[in-house]
Amino acid sequence: MLSFSAVGPTPSPGLSSEADVISPELLHILHIFHDLLVKGKDNFSYSWRMESEYVELLPRVCAVLGDSGQSVVDDTCLEKLLDCFQAITKNETELYILQRIPCLTHIIVNIPKQRDLNPSTLSFIMRLTGLFAASENYFHELENDGILSSLFGSPASLGSETWEEATVRCGWLLGIQNMLQHEAVIQFLCKYDCIDEIIRLQKDPSIFVASTASQLLANILSFSLQCSELASLGNGSKVQLNDTVAALHSVNWSDCVYAITGHIEDFLKSGVTSNIQQALKLLSKVSGTNYPVAIVSLWPKIEGSIKLLLKGDLTGIGQPLTKLFLNVSRTVPCDVLEPKIWDLLSLLLRLLNQAEALTLASGILKLKNCPQSLRMQAATTLFQPLNYIITVTSVQPEEDTVLLDASSNYRADIEHRLSRKSACINLLCQTLSHLLELLQMPSQKIELPYQALIHSVLTVLKLCIGTAIPTTSAGVSISRHLIGCIKVQRAGIDVLGAIPQWAGRIKEVNSALKLLLDYIRNPDTDSTVLKKALQALFHWMLHCIEAGDSPALEPTLKEFLDGDFFSVMKKRLFDVHWEIRDSALEFLGQLCFQFKEVESFCRLIGSCGIPHLVLELLSDPESYVRASAISALGKMNYLSPNWQTLPNENSVTVMKGNILPHLLDILNQDTEGFPRRAAVKVLADWLKNSHMLSSCELDNFVPIILKIGSNDLDWEVKVHSLELAEAFIDQSSSNSLISPYAVSLSNSTHSAQVKVLLQTLCDAGIFIILFHALWDCDRPVAQKACEILMKLKRITPGADSSQIHNKPNGHKPNRESFAEWLSSSNFNLQNVSDVMEIMIALDLEFQHQQLVRSSDHIESSLRSLLQDILAAAENSEDSGADCY
């Protein structure tokens, strides 16, 4: 029998007698609690005071939960409390927690008996009970005392009104799920006919409950079969899948397995679509578990029904069948099942309508070990809609522009679907999005006909803006559906942009570039489509460069750039929509950075007047655009230096020397954070990635920028300023041949070099900024400053561990005490020896440990949670209705 200690409704002010003596087990639990809840485990030492408070608080919280008159703050508190217990029970098989905090058992036993119990509380208790019952010993104790049967036996015992609450049903299912760790649970479920209830819950009106029920059935089935496997084959023996399945057929399965398989068989044969769907979904989940034995064992019982289904009407069951077959083919070796899964996939592919077949085809093309013939069949299915469009829009399509040969028969429904506007748009969008998925895969399992693919996508995109002239009435009808259709435009351009990475030499480069420019030029192009068109154009231009053998511009691309590309871009830079201006700037920045080595490109962009326009956009009313203009200018500065020396007035104005004052102005005056962030980031990148700044610029501008940036109110401006400082340090140290990453060497040469370096940093005001930032209210800023200082400390002579923080003025880590210490010690941060002394005195490691923790680690701790629950219960005034 379990023994329960009574928990008083009002907490005693002092420690409970149990809490006075804390055993090692409890200490262990509390340590886990603390580790799990306080983010970023550290060496924070535990105090007896804290632990005893947990012990005091938990029983009081249990008392609150047990008092049906009191309401808990909100459901999130209970969820978070469950997270804690879940973490504990994962590590604690012996459940010390229940021995030491008996009130937990008390709430499991007594709370469910109460009337008018809050459904959320009951759901919490069920899930908590499940967590504890995952321990077999404790499970038996709870079962012997009738607690499990009262909670999980029959839902009727909970009362029909209570059961009507979806949260209770969900708690019931999750409770069972939690305890499903040993075979005794299976016997319990059989004994109390729980399986029937779970089967019923698959049709629950709540999608959360229905989905949980289905998953639970799959888990019970798999777990139960695993138990049988263990019983028949023993532990540790490695056998083939077929042998395991054979061994399983020779033993008696549990009643649970029979009940679930019986249910699946009945539903598959029922002829009722919703029942068949439910059975197929459950089978998909079974095949989705990491235990292929389960689905292989079931297969002989269901394959007959599946075959029958494939012979009948597939309306409504195509999707679940697709999911099941694909799941099975991913988890089960192909030769294990009969009929072969490949044959089934092939058959289903033939039987499904075009829209449903697309998903299956795409799934097949992603499979690893699929036969080539099936892959070809899938590819044919996937290409059919596009091929149909090519056929009906061209007079006599060229051979390499046709995706499929003439012998491929179209599905009956393709023509019909493409003749109706919404169906046509949906079918094309689906086809294109599956194609995109394929193209985005890291490797291709099949050689796609890229030439024809490009041609077909170009045709679709041309139809969308009315530049294709169809030759047949079907083509005309499709073009009517597609003209101006943003959905298809978006999907098509995405595919077009993804092709160049796979295709080798492409015939259609010209057409692709021209079409994309048409889209960019067209004033009716939607801003989202235009953004995609620019991205796709970038990929095509990149393809041209990569396809060329020399660093010069490839002729097609040169011809394209010599056309009206730049004038179109110039128009777009001053578009009325900020989204378009921003996308154009992002594109130009990306392009300039990528083509920075291509001299002819640099010359073209230098002479086209675009940099001048970008400069004008620094005063755009929209802050996002200003920020993008800064980034674009930043990237333009990577262009080969020749472009800046062109005798062109526009290009001269944007020479780097002239941008710096602009950046400084923005940093000083812009009221929005994005442009200021971009300005400092550009400078930091210049300094980090290449030696973009002259030593004169370094000396003149960097200290000013650092000073302004580090006093900014925006945390990201401050972080970027510190990145700039770090780049400055790196560059200064490389000039003085010292690596800040190197372990300090205690020879006099090194020491002298370091001092020179530190003096440079002192002169630039770096240490003033770093010591100020070390106590910044924005954590990432302080963290970055701390990391830089740690790096510098490593090369500082005399800063080895024995000498660290041995100064008499052991200061507390905060801004005020540090400032006080600095002034009382008369430190001068321009003086190298003072700086070195400060760095040696600072315990930066400790500071860093503090900073990596989140700022709400105290509020998100268990103790804080428990306190909040208690406070909410004591202060149950009705103010909860308020919200934002």
Partner: protein, 573 residues
């Protein structure tokens, strides 16, 4: 029958986050995409896997509509569009589109800067998400596609908040988002057409509350502030920067002016400052008074309220007024729930010595307001979201009782299906109308008129035309269907004579009908044809064959009843 289905993924019997899926006329619309402030993990975002099994949200959803900029309504948007990959249209009003990124950036700052989370959406993602947003004007009908249209209405609550009407064909749904039915100091009251939607989805935060007079609450607030200042103290009001900050600023500014107070009022720089800028920019969205006085004096340019500078910082006590809700796991929540000791970093413990007051200034409609809006809109059904279950239950009963309509309150994950009566518009051909009116008397608009025609579906439209026209248009040949019945009568006369007797008998009875004796010997009344054939064995028994078209079904039945009674002896030959 067509159905409208509603599944809340959030805001179903809770006020955590709003995310409601509506399926109407084959279109799927997501209403709001909020985040739950109470969680720091994935649970803060809606779980979209429940609505699409294959994860293809772009294919599944036709559009997303955001009602206003509060994070519990828009906080999951960048997650949905940039991390899950939804690539379809997102609609919100112009002010919401302008302010949304500020809130999202602020939220990101809290999450990334303060809490140190790394796997979170970036500034670039917020920008990319906002670039997908289509901004809409109030009362502008936006055509999402050929079938789906939306229209925004003013909702009060916060700057740019909108209610939205969604229409597909004849079916429509109104979603209120959060709204306020009483104008406050800077915003107006919600307003919508009497659009009689099939379903009205309303927030119900204050489902059971009849809020005390706003004036009383304001007076109480000002008195508390004033008393604290009179005592030489300071008052800290940690207010959300957008919305209530402006409301309280106007309140304090007016009070200061009236009382000629000199004590300084500060607001923190940063968000509030930025927010005031947007209020000035979108002045047309504020209330009438502010709009009217805008030229003389902009109410958002405060004389007494100055930006707070860090150099002013000292102990802020002795009073803190919390004008809104604080989520669990924050210092605000602790103070509000009465905790007097707060553990701070470095194992410091702070004692809460100041006075703490809670005053609700959130701008939601109370129970009276919700009923008022339902009365205005006249919906067929109501569905409550964004409220607590018990309170919703109470309001649900009240709505059903008062308006005699169904009211639903699904929990998260539960689907409500509402059957709608399809109202299919049909064009009637002029020919049919004219033809019908020439036959009958002058049409009476109060009486329904029965019309015979053929319904044809051609080029995606329905038309009612005359059978002749239908046959012609569809290129079909006409077939006539006749019903025939045989009645035996006893008459010893010859076949011809019997037919004459029938003719005369009918002429006597059916005086208003044209009755013809045809050359082939048969009798015709309207389309009804009567013929005689004698039984070979018994000359006195005659078979009378009656045949008629379906249009004359009634008359045909009457004649058969008549003939079954036999012919009177008095009828002449």
């Amino acid at each position: 029958m067509p159905e409208i289905k509603v599944t809340p993924l959030g805001a179903g019997q809770d006020v955590g986050r709003s995310c409601i899926l509506v399926s109407i006329g084959g279109k799927n619309v997501m209403l709001d995409c909020g985040m739950h402030m109470g969680y720091n993990d994935d649970r803060r975002f809606p779980d979209f896997s429940y609505i699409t099994q294959n994860g293809r949200l772009t294919e599944f959803l036709d559009c997303v509509i955001i009602s206003h900029f509060h994070l519990d309504h828009c906080g999951a948007l960048p997650y949905m569009s940039e991390m899950i990959g939804y690539d379809g249209p997102i609609y919100m009003t112009h002010p919401t589109k302008a302010i949304c990124p500020i809130l999202l950036e602020d939220y990101r700052k809290i999450t990334v800067d303060k809490k140190g989370e790394t796997n979170f959406f970036t500034s670039q993602m917020i920008k990319d998400c906002m670039k997908k947003v289509v901004a809409v004007h109030l009362h502008q009908t936006v055509q999402v596609d050929d079938e789906l249209e939306i229209k925004a209405y003013y909702a009060g609550h916060v700057l740019g908040a909108a209610m939205v009407q969604i229409r597909v064909g004849s079916e429509s749904v109104v979603y209120t988002g959060d709204y306020n039915m009483t104008p406050d100091r800077h915003l107006g009251a919600a307003w919508i057409d009497k659009c009689r939607p099939d379903l009205f989805i309303s927030e119900s935060t204050y489902a059971t509350t009849i809020r005390d007079s706003k004036r009383c609450r304001e007076r109480d607030f000002l008195k508390k502030v004033h008393d604290a200042i009179e005592r030489g103290g300071k008052v800290l009001i940690p207010v959300f920067a957008l919305g209530r900050a402006q409301e309280l600023c106007i309140l304090l500014e007016t009070f200061w002016e009236r009382m000629n107070l000199k004590a300084p009022i500060y607001f923190s720089t940063g968000l509030t400052e930025k927010a005031n800028h947007y209020y000035k920019l979108f002045i047309t969205w504020t209330n009438q008074k502010i709009r009217k006085t805008f030229v003389q004096r902009n109410m958002f340019e405060f004389k007494h309220i100055k930006p707070f500078d860090r150099t002013y910082a000292d102990n802020p006590g002795p009073m803190v007024i919390m004008p809104g809700y604080c989520v669990q796991g924050t210092v605000g929540h602790k103070i509000l729930s009465g905790q007097r000791k707060l553990e701070m970093e470095g194992r410091q413990t702070l004692e809460v010595k100041m006075q703490v007051e809670y005053m609700s200034f959130s701008a939601h409609a109370d129970a009276k307001g919700i009923m008022q809006l339902i009365r205005q809109v006249e919906p067929q059904n109501v569905l409550l979201v964004h409220g607590e279950a018990k309170k919703m239950g109470f309001l649900k009963e009240k709505i059903e009782q008062e308006f005699s309509i169904n009211c639903y309150m699904p929990a998260n994950g539960e689907t409500v299906a509402i059957v709608t009566n399809p109202n299919i518009p049909v064009d009637i051909s002029l020919g049919l109308l004219k033809g019908d009116s020439t036959l009958g008397p002058v049409p009476d608009p109060k009486k329904p008129k029965l019309m015979h025609g053929t319904l044809i579906i051609k080029d995606n439209s329905l038309r009612l035309v005359s059978p002749d026209q239908a046959v012609k248009e569809l290129g079909l040949s006409e077939h006539h269907l006749r019903y025939t019945c045989k009645v035996q009568i006893q008459d010893h006369h010859s076949e011809q004579d019997t037919l004459n007797r029938i003719y005369n008998h009918l002429k006597n009875i059916l005086k208003d009908y044209p009755i013809q004796h045809l050359p082939d010997g048969s009798v015709m009344v309207e389309s009804i044809l009567i013929k005689i054939s004698a039984m070979s064995e018994d000359q006195s028994t005659k078979d009378v064959l009656v045949s008629w078209t379906y249009q004359d079904e009634e008359l045909g039945s009457y004649l058969i009843t008549l003939l079954k009674k036999g012919l009177p002896q008095s009828i002449a030959l």
